[in-house]
């Protein structure tokens, strides 16, 4: 397997949804996903005074996207990286130190719901994903493959 193929496997697909900052929009999304029998693995909501962006990792990305689009939502797709973090003081810090030293910029991050064994899982959004994966794996940090994550 080539190095390039490896990073592709290391990518996790995340969908993002544009939401107006008004009552009931978030529950509209969760209703649509529930009705489509889609499980939410992780989510994060970033908002400003008038709009929000909901980022989701779900059990079935394509199905989720179709369902949301059908209901008129604007849906985007981005690749992110899931990293195993030791569930102890300094666990996340060690990873951020690696990234800082390598000058890799983190756009945003959020925690995954499920644990991986005794470790927590953090979702990272990088501007330069391949470079970030390389830095992380070379430092012995465990990056979780997409197909493993969706089924966790």
């Amino acid at each position: 397997m080539t190095a390039k193929g490896e990073t592709i496997q290391m990518r996790v697909e995340q969908i993002s949804v544009f939401l107006e900052n008004k009552a009931g929009r978030l529950s509209e999304v969760t209703r649509i996903l529930a009705e489509a029998q889609i499980n939410i693995r992780a989510l994060s909501l970033a908002d400003t005074s008038d709009f929000g962006i909901l980022r989701l990792i779900v059990s079935d990305n394509d199905k989720a996207k179709d369902a949301l689009r059908k209901h008129g939502f604007t849906v985007g797709k981005t690749d992110v990286v899931a990293v195993e973090v030791g569930d102890r003081p300094g666990g996340l810090h060690a990873i951020l130190e690696v990234l800082r030293k390598a000058n890799v910029n983190v756009e945003y991050m959020y925690a995954f719901v499920q644990q991986s064994g005794n470790n927590a899982v953090i979702i990272f959004r990088f501007d330069h994903l391949d470079e970030a994966v390389k830095v992380l794996t070379e430092s012995g940090i465990k990056v979780i493959e997409g197909k493993t994550l969706y089924g966790m």
Binding site: Q14, S16, F18, L19, E20, R25, A46, D47, T48, D50, F51, I53, R55, G72, F73, T74, V75, G76, T78, E107, Y108, R125
Partner: protein, 433 residues
């Protein structure tokens, strides 16, 4: 008070005789010098010599804003450029402004009409006029300025903006008359209160307000807050600029049209048929003394009606009632003409933005607030907040650059803008005017 008592109180018969003579001379001139008019008259099978009475005016074709645009920039001028001493312009629907020109005599005529308007509002020689209309391509600032000088008053060419400084200047200079848009007048009152200045302590006695629609309630509010007498002034650059019609301080009930220079008609906006006095319709003007930029039956798209009743001020000039609306979708935001189609072209210049937008106009305090709702499609969507904020700022900056008016930009979900029968409702005007 009257600046030109002879012409402002002419008996109807004498006025109409002057109007006919001046109309005939104008028609001969435009027929000879403006290819657009010659062609339009020929198409309508009417020659200047066919116009033998004022009633014959209705045989002439209308002139539309589009005609002015099609002849951009100087195609409608009736004199060679060396006779044009001034150029003004106003915004148009496609981004091209409507350009108008004036000869030295036109400027003198305009100054006279503006002096009459200021006098009608209560100004005279010895007054200090704080002129807060914008100076520039817009006719407001310079139009009022020349009128004030013609009147013999002292004019402060303060123009728009920097409100706190304006308050300092009006206080220190002891201004007695103010000219600006009615919404800016109320904004001034608000800022004055913030900086601890009470208009009661200032020397203002009169205000001449225009360039945007306003209401009787707003007049009362302005009079109460600014402690002055407020009158309405009307004008548009295509016809001349401010001073085409003005209210008298005596009656404050309708605007006297300067009929010795303009013939006013009210027509049915769809059929084009002239309507009798008192009926609401579209206001149409024909200039009968202008040299550089005469207009024949110009469709203003302003909705109003005419009142021929004698006025207590003694003027015999017909009164035009307050403009109650427009026949098109033009918005006037803080005195600036804004067409939804212009906003649309500004939006479409940004890659990925779809033409799904809505303009919401509110009046917060006393200022017009324009909010542009823009639907977020997948081409501009990003999972990063920062990128969407950059998009909002970019739209807002482009609007400001294009119109000189700032707008709030709000990103909304797709399909949130109501579409009725496939046609989106582009404008929601929440202003109570």
């Amino acid at each position: 008070m009257m600046f030109n008592i002879e012409f402002e109180t002419l008996p109807r018969e004498a006025l109409e005789a002057i109007q006919l003579r001046r109309l005939q001379a104008t028609l001969e001139r435009v027929y000879a010098t403006v290819p657009f008019y010659r062609q339009k008259f020929q198409e309508a099978k009417v020659a200047p010599s066919d116009i033998k009475s004022l009633e014959d005016l209705r045989r002439l074709p209308f002139t539309y804003k589009k005609d002015l645009r099609d002849n951009y920039p100087f195609g409608m001028f009736a004199v060679p450029m060396e006779s044009v001493v001034r150029i003004h312009a106003s915004s148009g629907t496609t981004g091209k402004p409507t350009v108008v020109g004036y000869t030295a005599r036109d400027i003198a005529m305009w100054s006279e009409l503006m002096a009459r308007a200021l006098a009608a509002g209560g100004a005279s020689r010895g007054d200090i006029i704080h002129n807060a209309y914008g100076y520039g391509l817009f006719t407001g600032g310079l139009g009022v300025h020349y009128g004030a000088e013609r009147l013999g008053a002292s004019v402060i060419p303060i123009s728009g903006g920097n409100t706190k400084r304006q308050i300092l200047i009006m206080k220190d200079f002891g201004a007695t008359v103010i000219t600006c848009t009615p919404s800016y007048a109320l904004h001034l009152a608000e800022v004055a209160r913030e900086v601890g200045v009470d208009f009661k302590d200032l020397k203002f006695k009169a205000g001449i307000f225009g360039a945007e629609p306003w209401s009787e309630e707003m007049r009362q509010e302005i009079e109460r807050k600014l402690h002055l007498n407020a009158v309405d002034i009307y004008g548009l650059s295509e016809v001349m600029g401010p001073g085409v019609a003005v209210e008298c301080a005596e009656a404050k009930k309708g605007l006297h049209v300067a009929e010795d220079h303009f013939i006013v008609e009210v027509i049915h906006p769809e059929t084009g048929e002239p309507l009798p006095y008192g009926e609401q319709g579209e206001i149409v003007f024909t200039s009968i003394t202008k040299e550089a930029f005469p207009v024949i039956r110009y469709r203003t798209r302003d909705i109003s009606s005419l009142n021929p009743e004698p006025c207590i001020c003694g003027r015999t000039l017909v009164r035009m009632n307050r403009v109650t609306g427009r026949t098109d979708d033009m918005l006037i935001i803080r005195g600036v003409n804004v067409f939804p189609s212009q906003i649309e072209s500004v939006l479409m210049e940004i890659e990925g933005v779809e033409p799904h937008y809505q303009l919401v106009v509110d009046r917060e305090g006393n200022l017009d607030i324009l909010t542009i709702l823009v639907e977020v499609g997948e081409h501009v969507f990003s999972d990063e907040v920062r990128k969407l904020q950059v998009l909002e700022k970019r739209i807002s900056k482009n609007i400001k650059e294009y119109f000189g008016v700032s707008a709030n930009v709000k990103l909304v979900e797709p399909k949130t803008i109501a579409r009725s029968e496939g046609k989106a409702q582009r404008v929601i005007d929440n202003r109570k005017i």
